[in-house]
Symmetry: C2
Subunit: 190 residues, 2 copies
DNA sequence: CCATCCGCTTAACATACATCAAGCATTTGA
DNA sequence: TCAAATGCTTGATGTATGTTAAGCGGATGG
């Protein structure tokens, strides 16, 4: 049941069996169906979620009612409204299942206690946020300096599994271009 | 001498005087003149830097020889090639002084030891990276979804001190537009 | 002190992408 | 089962930004 997430964590820190138990003790399983919302604006965000199975997206809806996809998540990824989760502010994002999904939620307060008892978990999550930080920096450079075509090719190379599972109009949204433009780009590639 | 950085840290965590001493013990002052490089590609990056006084930029030079400014830093900001610093990989960025500057460098190995001795410093730097993460997310949304004009106005509002100190062609570069376009945008605004 | 460079602006033209509109195949669900 | 919704494509046209070229005032340095 928990072997997947424990393997995932063991890639970065090594855990004894009592530490594993203490960690899995604060996890709670959550199942969510396609199109259901895990988080919506205004929610208090107490948890971040590890994806055991499925596919989700986090997106921001602007004042004009336009959605902007910030993140996809599939197996072995983490998702939440991280700003709200870290800062304790109300959610500004929607997190929605693209497929039926199984998640493991971690409660923030329990996690803070765990950090105090076993500091290497604070290390693990610092590593995670650091990697996410670097990925965001790369994405900013791409979005500022590359054409839609270049960004699409980069996306396909970086996230081939996601490209296969998510409809093109959502990929276009993530890339910051219109579906019509993505369609033309794809036509050009063949 | 160290009161500025101690005040800065005390905004997020509270420190006893021995903790302050232990922290300042691992700092090393560094002065750097305008146009000098603090970091260049290939360097081993052992330190991150707190800006006591001055103004710097971090930028990436792509294969075509084009520079892309990732970050500016002025008083009370942190700067480095964070990817290289966190991961121990060779630097990919240039970090260069825009004005004569005074910095406080923190050595990574000494910092890791400090984390073990006084875990709240790990908390402090986790908060820092979290805030940086959120700022990057905001910047991605802007870069993907907003016009150059909107991004410029946002920049002026968010970083008014930087807008005053940095030449327009460098701001244009940071915003991902050409100086000619920024000039037209500015003309339009008056 | 004067030549050079730097930072900024403007203009004419090119290009990438958006917008608006329509059509079509596949999937969905009453 | 069949109508509606969904996801994708294509065409005509508009717009923001890039490209190329030129000029200008002020700072800089020999």
């Amino acid at each position: 049941m928990y072997s997947q997430i424990l393997d995932h964590i063991s890639k970065d820190i090594s855990l004894g069996s009592s530490e594993k138990e203490e960690f899995t003790g604060i996890l709670s399983e959550k199942k969510i169906l396609k199109k259901e919302l895990l988080i919506k604006p205004g929610d208090k965000v107490d948890s971040e979620y590890y994806v055991v199975k499925g596919c989700l997206k986090a997106y921001y809806r602007d004042q004009a009612g336009e959605d902007h996809i910030i993140q996809f998540a599939i197996e072995d990824w983490w998702i939440s409204d991280f700003e709200a989760f870290f800062r304790g502010t109300p959610a500004e994002l929607y997190v929605e299942a693209i497929e039926d999904s199984v998640l493991l939620g971690i409660d923030k307060a329990a996690l803070e206690l765990l950090y105090q008892r076993i500091p290497k978990f604070e290390r693990f999550f610092r590593l995670k946020i650091t990697n996410a930080f670097v990925a965001l920096r790369t994405r900013i450079l791409s979005s500022l300096q590359k054409t839609g075509k270049e960004r699409y090719l980069e996306f396909c190379q970086t996230y081939p599994q996601i490209e296969k599972r998510v409809p093109n109009y959502q990929i276009a949204n993530y890339l910051g271009i219109k579906p019509e433009s993505l369609s033309r780009i794809r036509k050009d590639l063949t």
